[in-house]
């Protein structure tokens, strides 16, 4: 199992996740850029500082489970898994090639991917099942489910949120990547989510809010013990497209196929950001 004692700093991992994502979005099919960039610190912190997982034994029975419910963040997940050692980073080059298991949305053929995702609003119900299973096993395991904010417009999320609270699943942690954008615009102008923290509270969840680009804040929120009998949600305030000034906070960053010049500009921006 990875331990948090000697684990690498999450920020460096986040920077490498971003670079991988940008490179993959410069490939022939492009990719989900914006929502992968907003996830970098969330996934980096989870894999380097929080999750008890074993890259050499991904199905280890006592592992924590991470579900990427916003399946369109698949590129960030692949990058995080590669950085965590689940497979060599060179395998990222298989993304979107004919016959490749590295699809835009994650599939469990990829080492470290627990469940397929892509259709929004599935992860939290799955997490309820994992939480019930861990409790029946009396196992000291947790299930983390990473959701998009636009995803919270799906009714199934709130159905599962209600059930999770009713079942008192305090081994369940949801992380909301609150980048405030969906494909065609701002969440608040399309189907408003606010007051989001109040909504989760009203559903019986313990709510923590953090700067989703601060690995320190994320680590603190994700490692603090749960309120007994309550599932935890961490609302991570993020910026879609974070790290690439020409797409940051723009809905059109949702899916991008970076041309040669854009690719170079994006990498340069990431390096400037990492150096600053």
């Amino acid at each position: 199992m990875t331990t948090t004692i000697d684990a690498p700093p999450a920020a460096g991992t986040a920077a490498r996740i971003r670079e991988h994502v940008v490179n993959l979005c410069a490939g022939p099919e492009g990719g989900h850029l914006g929502g992968s960039m907003s996830l970098a610190e969330i996934l980096a912190t989870l894999y380097t500082r929080v999750l008890r997982v074993d890259p050499l034994d991904p199905a280890r029975p006592d592992r924590d489970v991470l579900l990427l419910s916003k399946g369109h963040g698949g590129l960030a997940l692949y990058a995080a898994l590669a950085e965590a050692g689940f497979f060599p980073p060179e395998r990222l080059g298989e993304y979107a090639r004919p016959g490749s298991e590295f699809m835009a949305h994650p599939h469990p053929e990829i080492p470290g991917v627990e469940m397929p995702s892509g259709s929004l609003g599935h992860g939290l119900a799955l997490a309820v099942g994992f939480g019930l299973g861990f409790r029946l096993d009396q196992a000291d395991r947790r299930c983390f489910v990473v959701m998009g904010d636009g995803e919270l417009q799906e009714g199934s999320v709130w159905e599962a949120a209600s059930v999770a609270a009713a079942q008192r699943l305090d081994n369940l942690v949801a992380v909301v990547d609150r980048n405030r954008l969906q494909i065609t615009g701002a969440t608040e102008t399309i189907d408003a989510l606010e007051p989001l923290a109040d909504r989760w509270s009203a559903f019986g969840w313990s709510v923590r809010q953090v700067d989703g680009h601060s690995c320190e804040e994320l680590e603190a929120a994700l490692t603090e013990p749960p309120a007994p009998g309550r599932p935890t949600v961490v609302i991570a305030h993020t910026v879609k497209g974070k790290g690439i000034p020409f797409v940051e906070d723009q809905p059109r960053s949702h899916y991008a196929k970076l041309g040669e010049r854009q690719h170079a500009r994006a990498l340069a921006a990431l390096r400037r950001g990492a150096a600053s």
Binding site: M115, L132, E159, S162
Partner: protein
């Protein structure tokens, strides 16, 4: 003798649950179970069918074998995406016990009828689809289904239906041969359809027509070999089901036989329409044309015999 398939299933669960640590009964407030009977491994998630199916997948992935309880209409339509993506795509050992199938919900009306579920479930990769024809074989097929490693859809009714007379032992995946005849094969699926098939075979026998009667309780994988073997002698198959005629059991038989031999398949099924009236299961099925008379008439027309 009559027995309700859902009650037989419930009794089997009560018997097996304490003896098999893998089993977890996941309920959606159906009222089928008395939670006091289960100290552990019974969870009523409330009226939340998507979450029911998703949670079953998560539970299965964490090493359990969930027994999921809801009505057929909600399992096949409302929660279908979770069944497809979370259960079938992951090929997880989830058993979906779907009660109130066909028109067995009777007077509860078309919101509670499930006349599409075989079509929906049999198209899903990895899914096994089982339709017991009476109470006793519900218990047998359910226990056999627990040995499978992938998901199972168990299509159950609401109220008691008659036991099949003199039926040989039932084996999951193999059509049960109830009668062996040379002139026509009647392949039936579900309690009243099988009874209609037997009754039609008696009527035809009196007219000098000998009919095979197959209880095809496993719709997927379909026992094409047995159906084709019986069809091969006559070339004529009449299917009977309590399901919409489109894409259901008869359609599955027709699809398969069309690929291997020039058979004639005639379907007796519920018409392509909702059932907007009250009534019991048998009444509504017969009102929809699922009758022994319809089966016999199809057989006669295929054999070129005049109706009597």
């Amino acid at each position: 003798m009559t027995a309700s398939s859902r009650e037989v299933y419930r009794d089997a669960v009560l018997d097996l649950l304490p003896r098999d640590e893998r089993l977890v009964c996941l309920d959606s407030d159906t009222g089928l179970f008395d939670s006091a009977q289960f100290p552990e491994r019974y969870v009523n998630l409330g009226i939340a069918e998507h979450t029911l199916m998703g949670a079953a997948a998560g539970l299965a992935k964490s090493g359990r074998m969930p027994l999921v309880n809801t009505m057929a209409a909600f399992a096949s339509s409302r929660a279908n995406e979770a069944v497809k993506i979370d259960i079938a795509l992951n090929n997880l050992p989830v058993r979906i016990a779907a009660t109130h199938s066909g028109v067995s919900a009777g007077h509860l009306g078309p919101t509670h009828h499930a006349l599409e579920d075989l079509a929906v479930m049999r198209t899903l990769p990895n899914m096994t689809v089982v339709v017991p024809a009476d109470g006793p074989q519900t218990g047998t097929l359910f226990r056999q289904a627990l040995r499978l490693t992938g998901p199972v859809y168990l299509r159950l009714g609401r109220n008691a239906t008659p036991e099949l007379p003199d039926a040989p032992p039932v084996t999951l995946g193999l059509a049960q041969v109830l009668r062996d005849g040379a002139d026509v094969t009647i392949a039936a699926c579900g309690p009243y359809p099988v009874l209609a098939a037997l009754d039609a075979a008696d009527t035809l026998a009196a007219e000098g027509v000998s009919a095979s009667v197959l209880n095809v309780h496993t719709v997927k994988p379909l026992d094409v070999a047995t159906i084709a073997a019986h069809a091969g002698r006559s070339g004529i198959v009449v299917t009977v089901e309590e399901h919409w005629r489109n894409a259901g059991f008869g359609a599955a038989v027709a699809e398969s036989l069309a690929e291997i031999a020039p058979n004639l398949v005639l379907r007796v099924a519920m018409p392509d329409a909702f059932v907007p009236v009250s009534g019991g299961q048998r009444y509504l099925a017969e009102r929809g044309g699922v009758t022994s008379a319809a089966v016999a008439a199809k057989a006669r027309s295929a054999l070129g015999r005049d109706p009597r």
